[in-house]
Symmetry: D2
Subunit: 147 residues, 4 copies
């Protein structure tokens, strides 16, 4: 089965710009989160349900490449895929581009531990590994910077 | 005993600017929070301790007057005072100005309920009313927009 | 002609929550901005066009009432209306509620000056007063806290 | 001459927490910015001066390792160093730890282009390469993830 690739469009908020006239760099990580949320929802397991079942996904690593400018009110497309990474980590790969021109804006990935509510690592539950087997990519290497 | 007036200096972060070249408006409410934190610490009851004792202070109202621009790296002075407001509310009055010139940047107030961890209103505990009796202002009317 | 009432749905981002488990208070002002953006777009004059024509709308005042909790991934409805306020100010009134239950989350208003790019007040251009005459409310008093 | 290592202490704001009870991941990049600002100031060239001289430092890459939790009001120490990276890029390496215990919170680096105000890459001006020769590290490799 082909890996799930989710898609979400959003508009750059004024609050996300900075005095350089483009988006402030940390906003990319917030948009990465929007991409993860959308991927999990489309995979059938909204992240709220995950937390309700006792599995949290704190970040252990994030890498962002800044590839182009985006201004207030620009419509951006956030494309996400995901996969297990090693035995106990999840990795989300994200690409953000201008929705109309396709011009790249930012890309990268986040790596997540699986923990309980107190932040202690847990073995990924069966429902999570099954979800990733069904919808995840198999090429998520920990050190593959291109995601 | 004179009411406590706390003071805190902070610098405008690049992340707090927007493409208009001044601070983004919602940042004022984040700086108001810095002012409250400082006031409670100087009053001898850091807000972390309050939450540990089971009293939370969610906002029920905020009012902000935007009075001047502030740019990246400007040093701002956040001056705060507080008081009980009615029987069960706290009010913090804040003034933010340029630390060097004194030029006003923003002012206003926030009104807070006292709740338990689940957000349910509780009667302000004795240690809180005593703290406010010792350090608070007595002129905190709910409708006094000037704080 | 009836005043324009715009509507926009958005989901609460994880980045917008805080450790109290609801949205952080300043996020309300960011959502107010989303409401303004939507209103201006539906009125036929996206805010980007306004800035291109040389008219900026910095805030001079904001008032927010916090009415209910909203958690990560909740779908919120942002309803906005606008009007001239005095001779040279614009006022946006905003109501945010849970999209499904209709439960109120936050409401309030922002008051805006009309300025040039450097922040200097200008007389509202004819195209702006005409837009507000066509789509704006006529009851936007400066001191009407309920918006 | 030994490379400059700057240090800045800051407290976690409530606005920087999320419902997991630790800081929201993107805040790390905002604290990285605080570290860069401090380094440049201590090196004698505040970033505001750089922009006034026409040199901007937009990010081309960021990498963050999340190493430990940090809660509201925790005092954090942000330690930064910097160096030229290739011919036309700057790299800042950052370590964030708990100010009192020294426990690591986050680390990583950002890589910056040197551009004019419109975002076009420029050759690093002499005053910038001289500054980096005086205060920078010489081991800033582009692919050295450990910074």
């Amino acid at each position: 089965m082909a890996a799930l690739v989710s898609q979400l469009d959003l508009r750059v908020r004024y609050s996300e710009t900075d005095q350089m006239g483009t988006f402030y760099n940390a906003r990319a990580l917030e948009w990465f989160e929007c991409g993860r949320t959308q991927w999990l929802r489309q995979a059938g397991l909204p992240y709220t349900d995950m937390e309700r079942r006792g599995a949290f996904l704190p970040l252990v690593e994030a890498r962002v490449y800044f590839q182009g400018r985006a201004q207030y009110d620009d419509e951006l497309r956030v494309v996400a895929s995901a996969g297990l990474c090693g035995k106990a980590r999840l990795k989300f790969a994200i690409r953000i581009s201008q929705a109309h021109s396709g011009a790249p804006v930012a890309g990268g990935y986040t790596v997540h531990a699986v923990t309980d509510v107190s932040g202690r690592p847990i073995r990924p539950p069966a429902w999570l590994t099954e979800l990733m087997a069904r919808h995840g990519r198999e090429d998520m290497e920990l050190e593959d910077g291109t995601g």
